[in-house]
Symmetry: C2
Subunit: 705 residues, 2 copies
C-alpha cells in the first residue's frame, strides 16, 4: 500500500505541537516562582507528585513488559504469518512509553506552573491566567504531538493499521493505570482532608495546617493533569486507529454505503486510510490558533475565554478541514466524482461529530451551572437535609443522561447516513480533532486550583487569593464542558472500535436472539457497575485511612493545629500513593481478563455484544456520575457564595455531604469508565487472534449453544 | 386447537385459592379489633387507603377505558381478520378489573388485619403472627387465584394465547399505576415523617403526634400490599402468557431445539401450550401446603418460618411438578419418547428457574442482613459521616448486581440448553410458580408494620410493642428474599416476552451491528435511568410538601406536640394522594409511548433491541436500588440496636441519612422498574400490528438506514 504524501501534514503538525509545548514550558519556567514559603509548598507538591509517578511508572514498567512479551510471543504476527508479532509488540511499547512521556511532561510543567501562576496573580489576573494556561497547554500539546507523530511514523514504516493497534493498546493500558490510580489518589486526599479538616476542625479549604492539603494538591496534578491527559491521549489514538482499520478494510472496487454503492480506486482507499490522521493534524492547527486566541482574550474574562476558545477551535476546524478536503480533491485528479463526493461526506461526519461533542458538553454545562435550575434545585433540596440533597443530585444526574444520549444518537444516525460505520468512526475523529484545546483547558484547572492553595499557604493576602479564586472558578466552568466532551468522545470511539473489531473478527451480525450473545450483553452491562463500585469503595477505604492519619497527627502534636509546627505531609502522601496503587489492581485485571474470557467462552459475537452492553451502560454511569458530582460541587459553592444562608448553616453542611459523595463520582469512577471502555475494546481486538484458535471453536466460543 | 382436560388442574387450583382467600379473610375478621383508640387509628388508615384507592381507581377507569377503545378499534383482531379486536379488548378489560379486584381484596383485609394483629400480640406472638400471616395470604391467594382462573377461562373460550395478551396487558397497566403511585405515596409519607418528626422534633417512629404517621401506615397498605401484589400478578400472568405464545408458535412436525430437532405431534404441542398454566396450578398447591406449614411453625421463630415456608414450597413444587409430568406422560399414550423427553426437560427448566430465584433472593439477603459484612461495613462507614455511608451503601448495591446477574445468567444458559427460548420462558414460569407464597410473605410485612404502629398509638405497653417489633423484623427478613425473587422473576419474564414478541413480529435476528438496532438498544438502556430519576424526584418533591405541612401543623397548633389535640391526618394523606397520582402520569406515558415510537421510527427489530437494553439496564438499577436501600435500612437498625454507640449519636444520624436515601430507592424506583419492563414488553406485543402497517415500512420503521 502506497503512503500518500499528505500524511506529512500530520507529521509536521505533530512536530510543531511538541515544539510549542517546549516553548510554553520555557515561558512558564522563566517566570518568578514566588517567595520562599511558596517555593517550599510547591516543592512538597512536586516531590509528592514525582514520588507517586515514579512508583507508578515502576509498577507500570513490569506490567507493560509482561504485556509486551505476551503480545510478542503469544499473539500471531499481523504482517508475516508464522513469525513473532514483534511489529505490534514494539508499537505497544512505543504507545505505552509515549503516553508515559506525555504525562510526565505535562505534570512536570504543572508542578512548576502552579507556584508561578500564584505569583503571577500578585501582578495581574492576566499574568496569572497566562502562566496557568501555558502550563496546561503543555499537557494538551504534548498529548496531541506524541500521538500524531507516533501514529504517522508507525504507519509510514509498517503501512498496516493493525500494527498501530499495539500503539493504541499501549496508550490505553497506561491510561487505565493513570486515570484509575490518579482518580483514587486525588479523592482519597480530597475526601480525607474535607472529612476531618472541614467537618471536624472547621479548617478552611487549602489550610496549611491540614496534613492532607499537600496530598490534595498532588492529587490534582496526578489525577487531573496526568490522568486526564492520558485518558484523552487514549481516546484520541483509538479513534484514529478504528477509522484507519475500517478504511483499510474497504475492498478496492465496489463498496456499499447506506446511501448507495460506489467504486473505490486504490488511491481513493489510501486517502481514506490516512484521512483520520490528516484531519487530526488539521484539528491540531485549529487548536493552536484557538490557544493563541484564548491567550489574547483571557485578560478580561478567563472563564468565557476558555469556552470561547473551544468554540473558535471548532469553527476553525470546520474551515480548515473543508479547505483540506478541497485541496485534496484538486491535488488528486485521479479521484472519481463519486470519491470526491465521499470525501465531502466524510468531512460532514467529522463536523457532525464535533457538533455532538459540543452538545454533550453543553448538557453537562447546563446540569452543573449554578445559574440553572438543576443546581439551584439541588441547593434548595439541601434545606431538607443530607438525604434529600443526595436524592436530588442523583436524580438530576440520571436525567442528564437523556439529552447527552440524544446528542450521541443524533451524531451516530447522521454520520451513518453519510458514510456508514466508517462515518461513525470519523465522527469520533472529528470530535477528538480539537483535543489539544480540550486537554489544555482541562489541565489549566488543576494548576490554578494548586495556585490558589499556594497563594493561601504562601500568605499572599486576600486580594491575591481572590484573583486566584477567579481563575479557579474559570477552570471549573471549562471543566464541565471538557468532561462532557471526553465522555462523548470516548463513547463514539468505542463504538468505532466495536465496528472495526467485528469487521476484523469476521462477525457480521451480533444477534441478541442468540443466547450466547445475549449473555455477553448481560455481562457487558454489569461491568461498569462493578468497576464503579470497586473504585468508589477504594476511595472510601483509603479516605478512612487518611482520616485516621489526620486525626492521629492532630492528637499527637497539638502544635500542628496552632500552626507552630508543620504537619507531616509525607505520611498522608504515602497513604494516598500506596492505597491508590493497591486498589487499582483488581479493576485493571477485570478490564483485561473479562473480555478475553467472554470471547473464549461465549465466542467473538458474544464479545461484540459484551462491548456494546458495556458501552451503553458505561455511558449511563459515566454521564450520571460526572454530572451529579459536578452539580453537587456547584450547589455547595453557590451556597458558599452566600445563598440560602451561606457558610456554616445546616444547609451548607448538607451541601458538603453532596459534594463529598460527588467527589469520587465525578473524579474517580465517572471518568475512569471512559478508559475502561477503550481498554476493553482494544483488548478484544488485540487478543482476537487467540479467540479464533481452533480449540476455541474458531471464535464461536467454548460454550456453543 | 383442542384443549386438553388437564387445564382443569389449574382452574380447580385457582378456585381453591379464591376460596381459601375468603376463608382466611373470615379468620381475620372474626378476631378482636382491639381497644377504641386502636380501632380509631385503624379506622383512619382504612379510610385513607380507601380514599386513595377510590381516587386512583377512578383515574384508572378512564385510562383503562381509553386503552380498551384503542385496542378494540385501532388494533386488528387476533382471531377474525377484518373484524374489530373485541376478544383482546375484552381480555384487556378482564385483566385490568381482575388486578383491581385482587388488589382491593388484599388491601381490604390488610387494613382489617393490622389492628387485629396488634391485639393478637397482647395474647401471644403466635396469635399476632397468625392473624398477620392470614391477612397477607389473602393478597397472595387472591393474586394467584384471579390470574389462574382468568387465564384458564380465556384460553378455554378463545383457544388463542394472543387474546390472553390483552389480559396480561390489562394486569400490567394496573400494576404500573399501583406500583408507581403506591411507591410514591408510601415514601412521600415515610420520608416526610422522618425528616421533620425524627430529625427536627426527635419523635420516635410511629408517634401519634406526627401528622404523617397515619399517611405512612396508609402508604404501607397501598404501596407494599396492593402495589406489590399487582406487580407480581403482572409478572405471573406475563410469564405464563409468554410461554404459551412460544409454545403455540411451534410448528407441528420438526421443531429445532439446541439439543437437536424433534418431531412434535398436535397433542404434544397442545400440552406444551397449556403446560405453563398447569405448572402454575401445581405451584399454587405447593404454595398452599407451604402456607399451612408456615402457620404450623410460625409460633417459634416467625422470621425463619417465613423463609422456611418459601424453601418448602420450592421443594414441594419440585415433587408435585415431577409427579404431574409423570402422570401426564402416562395419561397421554400418544406422546412419542422424544416428546416425553421434552416434557422432562421442561420440568427441568421450571426447576432451574425456581432455583435461580432462590439464588437471587439469597444474594439480596446476604447484602442486606445485619450479621453480614456489607451491612456492617456500611454501618461502620457511618462513623465517617453522612457522605461516606452513602458512598458505601451505593457501592455495595452496585456490587450486589454481580452475583444476582450470575444467578440469572446461569438459569438462562441451562434453561436454553434444555429447551431453547421456550425453556427460558418456562424457567420464568417455574420461578413464579410459588408466587402465592412470595406475595403472602411480602404482604405480611406491611400488616405487622402497621400493627406495630397501632400498638404504639393504642398504648398497648412496651411488652406488646416488643412482640410486634419481633414480628416486624421477621417481615423485614422475608422482604429481602421476596424482593430479590420479584426482580429475578420479572427479569426472566421480560426476556420470555422479548422472545415471544420477536417470534410474533417475524424478527429472527436483532443485529446490534445494524445502526437502527443499536440506536434502539441505546434508547432502551437509558429508559430505566430516566424512569428512576422521575420517580425519585417525585418522592423528593412531594416529601418537601409533606415537610412543610407537618411544620405548619406543629407551628399553628402547639397542642399537637404535647399530645393534647390530634394532628390533622387527612391533610397529610391528601398531599400524598394527590402528589403521587399527579407524578405517576409522566412515567406511565413514557412506558407506553416510547416503545411504540421506537417501533414506528426504527422498526420492530430495533424495538426488540430497545427491550433488551431496557431489561439489562433495568436489572442493574433494580437490584442496585433495592439492595442498597435494604442495606442502609438495616445498617440503621443495627446501630439502633445499640451498636457503634446506638441511637442519638452522630453515627446514628448518618445512618438515618442512608436510610432516607434508600427509601425511594428500594420502595419506589427499584421495584417499579419490574413493572416498567413488563409494561413496555407487552406494549410492544400489543401494538405490533400497528408497527407492521405498510406506512411504517411493514415493521422496518420510518427511518430505514
Amino acid at each position: 500500500m502506497d503512503v500518500p504524501i499528505i500524511l506529512i501534514v500530520a507529521l509536521i503538525a505533530g512536530i510543531i505541537s511538541i515544539a510549542m509545548a517546549f516553548y510554553f514550558r520555557y515561558l512558564v519556567l522563566k517566570e518568578d516562582p514566588g517567595n520562599e514559603k511558596m517555593q517550599e509548598v510547591a516543592g512538597y507538591i512536586e516531590e509528592g507528585a514525582k514520588t507517586y509517578i515514579k512508583i507508578q511508572y515502576k509498577i507500570l514498567g513490569i506490567f507493560v513488559l509482561g504485556l509486551f512479551l505476551i503480545i510478542l510471543f503469544v499473539l500471531p504476527s499481523q504482517i508475516n504469518s508464522g513469525s513473532f508479532n514483534w511489529e505490534q509488540a514494539i508499537a505497544y511499547l512505543i504507545g505505552a512509553i509515549g503516553s508515559m512521556v506525555a504525562g510526565w511532561l505535562g505534570m512536570y510543567v504543572g508542578v512548576k506552573a502552579n507556584t508561578r501562576a500564584a505569583q503571577g496573580c500578585t501582578i495581574s489576573t492576566k499574568k496569572g491566567f497566562d502562566i496557568a494556561f501555558f502550563g496546561g497547554s503543555v499537557m494538551g500539546l504534548a498529548v496531541v504531538g506524541v500521538a500524531l507523530i507516533g501514529v504517522s511514523v508507525l504507519y509510514w514504516i509498517f503501512k498496516e493499521p493493525t500494527v498501530i493497534l499495539g500503539f493504541s493498546f499501549g496508550a490505553s493500558t497506561i491510561a487505565l493505570f493513570m486515570k484509575c490510580g490518579g482518580g483514587i489518589f486525588t479523592k482519597t486526599a480530597d475526601v480525607g482532608a474535607d472529612l476531618v479538616g472541614k467537618a471536624e476542625y472547621d479548617l478552611p479549604e487549602d489550610d496549611p495546617r491540614n496534613p492532607a492539603t499537600i496530598a490534595d494538591n498532588v492529587g490534582d496534578m496526578v489525577g487531573d493533569i496526568a490522568g486526564m491527559g492520558s485518558d484523552l491521549f487514549d481516546s484520541y489514538v483509538a479513534s484514529i486507529l478504528a477509522s484507519m482499520m475500517l478504511a483499510a478494510a474497504f475492498s478496492i472496487g465496489t463498496v456499499v454505503f447506506p446511501f448507495g454503492s460506489i467504486t473505490l480506486s486504490e488511491a481513493g482507499r489510501n486517502i481514506l486510510v490516512i484521512l483520520p490522521i490528516v484531519l487530526c493534524g488539521v484539528g491540531l492547527m485549529a487548536s493552536l490558533i484557538g490557544i493563541y486566541l484564548i491567550k489574547l482574550r483571557g485578560s478580561n474574562e478567563p472563564g468565557k475565554a476558555l469556552n470561547t476558545g473551544t468554540y473558535l477551535a471548532t469553527l476553525i476546524y470546520f474551515g480548515l478541514s473543508a479547505l483540506l478536503t478541497f485541496l485534496l480533491t484538486l491535488s488528486e485528479p485521479s479521484l472519481t466524482s463519486e470519491e470526491v463526493d465521499l470525501l465531502w461526506r466524510i468531512w460532514g461526519t467529522s463536523a457532525i461529530g464535533l457538533i455532538a461533542g459540543i452538545i454533550v458538553g453543553f448538557t453537562s454545562d447546563y446540569f452543573t451551572r449554578d445559574d440553572k435550575k438543576p443546581v439551584q434545585n439541588i441547593a434548595n433540596a439541601a434545606k431538607e437535609g443530607h438525604a434529600v440533597v443526595i436524592l436530588s443530585g442523583f436524580s438530576y444526574g440520571l436525567l442528564s443522561v437523556v439529552p447527552a444520549a440524544i446528542g450521541i444518537i443524533f451524531a451516530m444516525i447522521v454520520a451513518f447516513w453519510l458514510a456508514g460505520v466508517f462515518g461513525v468512526a470519523m465522527a469520533a475523529v472529528g470530535m477528538l480533532s480539537i483535543v489539544g484545546t480540550i486537554v489544555s483547558n482541562d489541565a489549566y484547572g488543576p494548576i490554578v486550583d494548586n495556585a490558589r492553595g499556594i497563594a493561601e499557604q504562601g500568605d499572599l493576602g486576600d486580594e491575591v487569593i481572590r484573583t486566584a479564586d477567579r481563575l479557579d472558578s474559570a477552570g471549573n466552568t471549562a471543566k464541565a464542558i471538557t468532561k462532557g466532551f471526553a465522555i462523548a468522545a470516548a463513547n463514539l470511539t468505542v463504538f468505532a472500535l466495536l465496528f472495526s473489531f467485528t469487521q476484523e473478527a469476521g462477525v457480521f451480525t451480533i444477534d441478541l436472539l442468540n443466547i450466547n450473545v445475549l449473555v455477553g450483553a448481560f455481562i457487558g452491562v454489569i461491568i461498569p457497575a462493578l468497576f464503579s463500585a470497586l473504585l468508589i469503595l477504594a476511595v472510601q477505604k483509603n479516605a478512612a485511612k487518611m482520616v485516621d492519619e489526620i486525626r492521629r497527627q492532630f492528637e499527637e502534636n497539638p502544635k500542628i493545629l496552632t500552626g507552630e509546627e508543620p504537619a507531616d505531609f509525607s505520611r498522608t502522601i504515602d497513604i494516598a500513593t500506596k492505597g491508590s496503587l493497591k486498589e487499582l489492581i483488581l479493576p485493571s485485571i477485570i478490564s483485561i481478563t473479562i473480555p478475553i474470557a467472554v470471547g473464549i467462552i461465549f465466542g467473538v459475537a458474544a464479545l461484540g455484544a459484551f462491548l456494546a452492553g458495556a458501552i451503553l451502560s458505561g455511558f449511563v454511569f459515566a454521564v450520571m456520575m460526572s454530572n451529579s458530582g459536578g452539580a453537587w460541587d456547584n450547589a455547595k459553592k453557590w451556597i458558599e457564595d452566600g445563598n440560602l444562608g451561606g457558610k456554616g448553616t445546616d444547609v451548607h453542611k448538607a451541601s458538603i455531604t453532596g459534594d463529598t459523595v460527588g467527589d469520587p463520582f465525578k473524579d474517580t469512577a465517572g471518568p475512569s469508565i471512559n478508559t475502561l471502555l477503550v481498554v476493553m475494546s482494544l483488548t478484544a481486538s488485540i487478543f482476537m487472534g487467540l479467540m479464533l484458535l481452533p480449540i476455541f471453536n474458531l471464535g464461536a466460543g467454548l460454550l456453543v449453544l
